[in-house]
């Protein structure tokens, strides 16, 4: 049996109280924004749905899921900082839920926003959702109700490698891997959208609202002069009785969803990858205390063990190399009964901490233990002594082993993620299975202050060479816009808007989110460990 982490937090201290207040405010703000994205629409949009006899996307998903089971929604605040905030959640709801006892990915268009039209970030979210399905071999249920690509922005969503075509490519790859997909066609799937049900192994189409066609009635008229109504062109009866494009017809959304649940119940349950498991138990410390641990100022350091103690089963943590490379905390724990290796930042990365991280990753990879990265990192240490000590090659070892690790990786952005620290600690580019962020999180190539100073320095030196000097007001004029744009673009909301993560979560939900993510990841077998060349 492992030892518990002994918390040293004092909930009566002034710092704790101040942090607690600040974080509850941050989480309140996050919840407000999330509620708005999920449920707030102009009345006319709700009226239009009702007029067409459609239920709201959130209610469709609720009906589809097994009652009383959790739904891990992904990227609920995608696109929040773009398109004047019009495309709530990027006009599509994605997440992992349980349908007929199977863990599945759900992808549901939201017709309450511009008819469910796909913006560039909608496409990015759809592609990401299917990437997750591929990496974790998760079956997919699509609820199709989209007007198609948002034409004014077609150049940003159509032609590139990860643009709309990738959705259909990913669907094809899923099918090739033997991972089933079901489409519930609740609206018109036009042009590219027609391929979503067509590329699904199973599809149910709704009589009336449901339609599948490469070209809708207006396009057909323009192209060939043929005048045809939508139902005759690509309605439920045509496709289930004549063309064979869809498999089942249904008369109501309720009937279609129940039929969909029955179809999913026919799917073969996958064999999950075996990792070390034990009976789950809640942390010994209250996760709400996380609010009092995360400082109100990103410059203030805190002990990552206090965070670990509030995420892992029983707050049990077997710390590896506790006295070496202390700025990186490494150790084993269980999350919802699933054994993981955790790497958490307790300061800047030194050579020793990088070597320890690389070593620990190899250990976990060899003994088939998934990795959890808790990021709060300003970067690698700089200075003559450290360069001479080879911090570049030690950092490279850390990045090399982390990139090469075969076990599933999960990242939580706990506070700060700056510079190459983001890379070492499994940032977005490193194909972790999931990344979740806390609302206080900040991310960027460097901090706003450092960036402003760097740019001001460059400018000052340029002018010095020309024999000029800058006054205080001029330096301020250089620094301030930099600080402003860095601050905006390094916020958790900007990051999640652009899908740099899989969603912001309330810190107290971290254990549940990780628990579901790890469970989902075990649908995929873990490959044998193998690495690139380490610069020793």
């Amino acid at each position: 049996m492992m030892r518990r982490i002994e918390s040293r937090i004092d909930p009566r201290s002034a710092d704790y109280q101040r942090f607690d207040e600040a974080n509850r405010e941050r989480v309140g703000e996050f919840r407000r924004r999330q509620d708005e994205a999920r449920f707030e629409r102009p009345q006319r949009d709700f009226d239009r749905l009702e007029h067409h006899g459609k239920t709201f996307v959130r209610d469709r998903i609720k009906q589809l899921l097994d009652p009383g089971t959790p739904f891990l929604e992904l990227s609920s605040l995608a696109a929040n900082s773009e398109y004047d905030g019009d495309a709530k959640s990027a006009s599509v709801v994605t997440g992992i839920g349980v349908v007929s006892g199977r863990e599945v990915m759900i992808r549901a268009d939201d017709p309450s926003i511009k008819g469910g039209a796909w913006y560039p970030l909608t496409v990015k979210k759809n592609v990401r959702c299917l990437d997750i399905a591929i990496e974790n071999r998760l079956p997919v249920v699509h609820i199709c109700d989209s007007a198609g690509g948002f034409l004014p922005m077609q150049a940003d969503l159509f032609a590139d490698r990860t643009d709309a075509g990738r959705i259909f490519r990913n669907q094809s790859i899923l099918s090739k891997m033997g991972v089933p997909q079901l489409s519930l066609v609740f609206g018109q799937c036009t042009a590219g959208g027609a391929y979503i049900p067509s590329l699904s192994d199973y599809s149910v189409i709704l009589r009336g609202n449901g339609g599948i066609f490469l070209g809708g009635p207006p396009l057909v008229k323009a192209a060939t002069g043929e005048i045809v109504d939508a139902d005759t062109l690509g309605g439920a009866d045509v496709h289930t009785q004549v063309s064979g494009v869809a498999d089942y017809a249904a008369n109501s959304e309720e009937e279609a969803i129940l039929l969909g649940r029955e179809i999913v119940s026919m799917w073969t349950r996958p064999e999950k990858t075996k990792i070390e498991m034990r009976e789950p138990e809640p942390p010994a410390y209250d996760p709400e205390e996380l609010y009092g641990i995360i400082p109100d100022d990103i410059k203030i350091q805190f002990d990552m063990r206090e965070v670990i103690a509030r995420i892992v089963d029983g707050s049990y943590f077997h710390e590896y190399q506790p006295d070496y490379g202390k700025t990186l905390v490494c150790g084993f724990a269980y999350i919802w009964g699933q054994k993981v290796g955790i790497l958490g930042n307790n300061g800047v990365l030194f050579s020793e901490s990088s070597l320890k991280g690389a070593h620990f990753i190899e250990l976990c990879d060899k003994n088939r233990t998934p990795l959890v990265f808790l990021q709060n990192i300003t970067g690698f240490m700089v200075g003559r002594e450290y360069e001479a000590g080879g911090i570049c090659k030690d950092g490279a070892k850390f990045i090399m082993t982390q990139s090469g690790a075969s076990v599933p990786k999960f990242t939580v952005m706990v506070n700060g993620s700056f510079g190459a620290g983001n890379y070492g600690m499994c940032g977005r580019a490193y194909d972790g299975r999931f990344i979740f962020s806390w609302p206080n999180h900040q991310i960027g190539i460097m901090g706003a202050e450092q960036a402003a100073n760097t740019l001001a320095d460059v400018k000052i030196r340029q002018l010095e060479r020309a024999g000029e000097t800058l006054g205080e007001a001029e330096i301020k004029a250089i620094r301030e816009p930099v600080i402003e744009s860095f601050a905006r673009e390094s916020s958790a909301y900007y990051a999640t808007s652009h899908l740099w993560d899989d969603g912001i979560i309330d810190p107290v939900d971290t254990r549940n989110a990780l628990g579901m993510a790890i469970s989902a990841s075990l649908h995929t077998p873990i490959e044998e460990p193998s690495y690139g060349v380490l610069r020793l």
Binding site: K299, G347, M381
Partner: protein
């Protein structure tokens, strides 16, 4: 399994023995058949051990179990055996130094030389790589010396605070607790 149980100041080694189909405990090296069945109300259990059935009530707070049995409450604490062994092997007391984890500057000195401080108390704040780190007391002790002052710069490994812990602490507290238990 790595846990000892402390009852009235005495430590007992109890661990489950894996025998398929029945519950079995090893208590101080002797084997007993034992099963715990839930009772009718929260906290109530029927303990069947060595052929006897006893009704007990259990309340749990962290690693401490309060067990009501035959009109008396017994406080039983599960103590991680490794943790206990480490504490027992730690000489404790004496002088100790808190060293700089990385080069930086002193932002603020809170503690004063000679002050008695408690575990976790903030002694000093330092800054390095744009990050402020709190230097706190690792346990209850006295601040012997603070060789750096506000604004000073230091290298990795430099001493920031010297601490001293009087030798006589240590086992006192557990005896005190045992006394308290007896007086109950």
């Amino acid at each position: 399994m790595g846990y000892d149980f402390e009852l009235a100041g005495t430590s007992h080694v109890v661990h489950p023995v894996h025998v398929p189909g029945r519950g079995r405990l090893s208590i101080e090296g002797r084997g007993f058949d034992a099963e715990l069945f839930p009772g009718l109300v929260p906290g109530e259990h029927i303990l069947e051990i060595a052929g006897r059935q006893e009704r007990i009530f259990v309340a749990v707070r962290g690693d401490v179990h309060f067990i009501h049995y035959r009109g008396r409450v017994h406080r039983v604490e599960a103590v991680n055996a490794l943790e206990r062994a480490r504490r027992a092997a730690d000489p404790g007391g004496g002088a100790e130094e808190l060293r700089a984890p990385m080069p930086g500057t002193v932002v603020e000195v809170i503690a004063t030389e000679g002050a008695e401080v408690t575990a976790g108390e903030l002694l000093m704040t330092i800054e390095s790589m744009k990050l402020q780190t709190a230097i706190t007391a690792p346990h209850d002790c006295r601040v012997a010396e603070i060789p750096v002052s506000m604004g000073a710069t230091f290298d990795q490994g430099d001493v920031l605070v010297r601490l001293e812990t009087p030798d006589e602490t240590g086992d006192d507290s557990s005896e005190e607790n045992a006394e308290k238990e007896k007086s109950k």
